[in-house]
């Protein structure tokens, strides 16, 4: 019987934290290798808006001093890492008084909501479509319609977002074009606000779903065909079990296992797609935040957003990993 030993849990957590450490280090290094200077860029932006900024050089120096950019790299690194441990991601350089934690805290729930919702939809719909494609008793019409619905699978989420936005928001006006909830609404647990959130979330989520579910459907179909050839399928038929029961308890139940593994592997790619979709719909999540940060060369924010995305992805993979013994009895995570 599958169970998780303390030993395994500790080892798995160690790997998890190791991942985070490596990620944090890379995130620290990479922006510093890039050309450009965030403070100079900001002052340049200010001077572009105001026409002229007095004592620009002094301001730049002052801020560099304030952000510790004049310190040796290892001091910056240590400060960065100790900050992370305390949950302090530093200040946003471009929007100075705001801390990165603050900005991320505002954006992260939206992205988690969007990713969670769309992942749920495409995983369920994709696997169901794949199962129906392979099932011998599926009506022929359904078997023709499902592949037709998968024509968007090969286009990038970016284009799917534009397409949906143009069709359903601009042309038909069924859904709002931007943002995650209606203007003038106060976030809270009111019916009006929740309805607005769902209304705003559907298009971005669909942009992810329509380009993704076909991939899962095809994978599932392949798995189902393999399962159909298994000896226990013959026995299930010989036993005279009800066809629908055989479909979900014998076929889907076994075919879904590799799909779960694939889901864990694909979470990274998924986040990539979400970033772009968020930008298209001006959805106020991590994607929009990270793109803004890149555009403004906001070191602190780039580090913070990337790090949080990595933490959440790694956490999702960790959860799928640890839940594996629950879904596949053959896999036991007991220490030996």
């Amino acid at each position: 019987m599958g169970g998780i030993s303390l030993n395994y849990l500790l080892r798995r957590l160690l790997v998890f934290f190791l991942t985070l450490w490596v990620a944090a280090t890379l995130i620290f290094i990479i922006p510093r290798l890039a050309p450009g200077d965030p403070i100079a860029a900001m002052v340049a932006r200010l001077s572009y808006q105001a026409g002229f900024v007095e004592n620009a050089d002094l301001i730049i120096e002052g801020w560099k001093e304030r952000f510790g950019l004049n310190d040796p790299v290892y001091v910056q690194y240590l400060r960065f890492m100790t900050g992370l441990l305390g949950g302090d991601l530093g200040y946003s350089m471009a929007r100075f008084p705001s801390t990165v934690t603050e900005l991320v805290g505002r954006a992260l729930p939206w992205t988690i909501g969007l990713v969670g919702f769309s992942t749920f939809i495409f995983f369920v719909v994709g696997n169901l479509c794949g199962a129906l494609l392979a099932w011998a008793r599926t009506p022929r019409l359904v078997k023709v319609l499902i592949p037709m619905s998968m024509i968007f699978t090969s286009i990038p989420p970016l284009l799917a977002g534009l397409l949906l936005s143009y069709t359903f928001a601009f042309l038909l006006g069924w859904f709002p074009q931007t943002y995650s909830y209606g203007f003038g609404l106060t976030p809270g647990l009111t019916l009006e606000f929740i309805a607005s959130v769902i209304h705003h979330g559907i298009l971005p989520a669909m942009a992810i779903v329509i380009v993704t579910f076909g991939y899962w459907a095809l994978g599932m179909r392949g798995m189902m065909v393999t399962i159909e050839g298994e000896d226990y399928m013959i026995l299930a038929q010989a036993k005279g079990l009800k066809p629908f029961y055989v479909l979900y308890r014998y076929m889907i139940r076994n075919a879904i296992l590799p799909q779960m593994t694939a889901l864990a592997v694909s979470i990274g790619t998924l986040v990539n797609g979400v970033v772009l979709v968020e930008v298209i719909f001006n959805y106020n999540g991590m994607g929009t935040l990270i793109v803004t940060a890149l555009r403004e060369q906001d070191f602190g924010l780039i580090q913070g957003t990337s790090f949080i995305l990595i933490v959440t992805s790694a956490l999702a993979v960790l959860i799928i990993d640890l839940s594996y013994p629950l879904i596949d009895p053959r896999i036991s995570l007991e220490g030996r």
């Binding site: 019987m1 298994e230 000896d231 226990y232 013959i234 026995l235 299930a236 038929q237 010989a238 036993k239 005279g240 079990l241 009800k242 066809p243 029961y245 308890r249 014998y250 139940r253 076994n254 296992l257 596949d328 009895p329 053959r330």
Partner: protein, 368 residues
Amino acid sequence: MTQQLNPESLSQNEEGTSKRDDFPLGGGKGRKDRVVLKVDNLRIHYATPQGDVIAVSDISFNLYEGETLGLVGESGCGKSTTAYGILQLVQPPGYIVNGSIEVDGTEVLDLEEEELRKFRWTGLSLIPQGAMNSLNPTMRVKDQIIDVIEAHEGKQSDKEALRERIFGLFQNVGLPNRIYNMYPHELSGGMKQRVCIAMGVALHPTAVIADEATSALDVVVQRIVAQTLIKVKDEIGVSLIVIGHDMGLLAQIVDRIAVMYAGKMVEIAPVENVYAKPLHPYTQLLIDSIPSIKERKPLKITEGITHDPRNPPSGCIFRLRCPFAWGHCAEVEPRQIMVEDLHEVACHLYDEQFTERRANALATIANS
């Protein structure tokens, strides 16, 4: 083995005596007066782009109540296809061309889909080939037995009684109760096979078909599983068809043996007849090829050519390899001739009009 074509064995037929009024090896519970499974002219093809492969060609046989029938033949001769045909489990591109399969008077081939589903396992059950992969890896042993019970007897409200019933099945096949909550991967091969046996008899079907149920096991476990099979069969009183190619093992557990060659039933006989006085030339060569620990024997069935299963030769299927074939064999397909009670053979040598040729064949053997 020169005494194989013994005319005396045939004379017994005329006297109407048979040594076998019952089936001593199978526990003696068989009653040859009641047919539980009647297969008539069953023909199964596999469709291929180059034409149909004839896997089973007009096979007919009876299975009597309480009887254990062995079905033997080379790999690819159609034994498993026959079994799957009887169970209505032939997978595409295979299909049943014609025939009739009657179980307790019910024509299986005429059943509607839902009737067929209800008939399955209550009429005929299967102990599958390769029990290693025949259990669903994601379901507990108990759930796989419960699901077949509930599929046919409805949702069981009394869980305690259901558990006792399954424990009873475990006891029948010598399984410990602790496997109740286990998953298939936690069992050994022999245990899995016994779970399949327990499952196979759970609903007390009319007949059970064991498709090479012991072929993936080592000889010791094989013996235990075979004994379990026979014990359970006798206790529950079902009829049994055992498919296999291990003639030695089958000899110990079956009442009658049906020998298949290239989709045809060539001989069906009480087990001691098959070994002591096989009639069909193929059966003779087969028995003569069984190796023994005392004697190294060559494989006798090597001469002649095998045919293309899409275009079987005219007349007798075995004539290309048969040492006794003559012109008539190419022209007329032999019928199954009842030479003795419960002993049928499909060979022209046993036709009344070729008694002389039978004597000549005997002389040939004697001279060699």
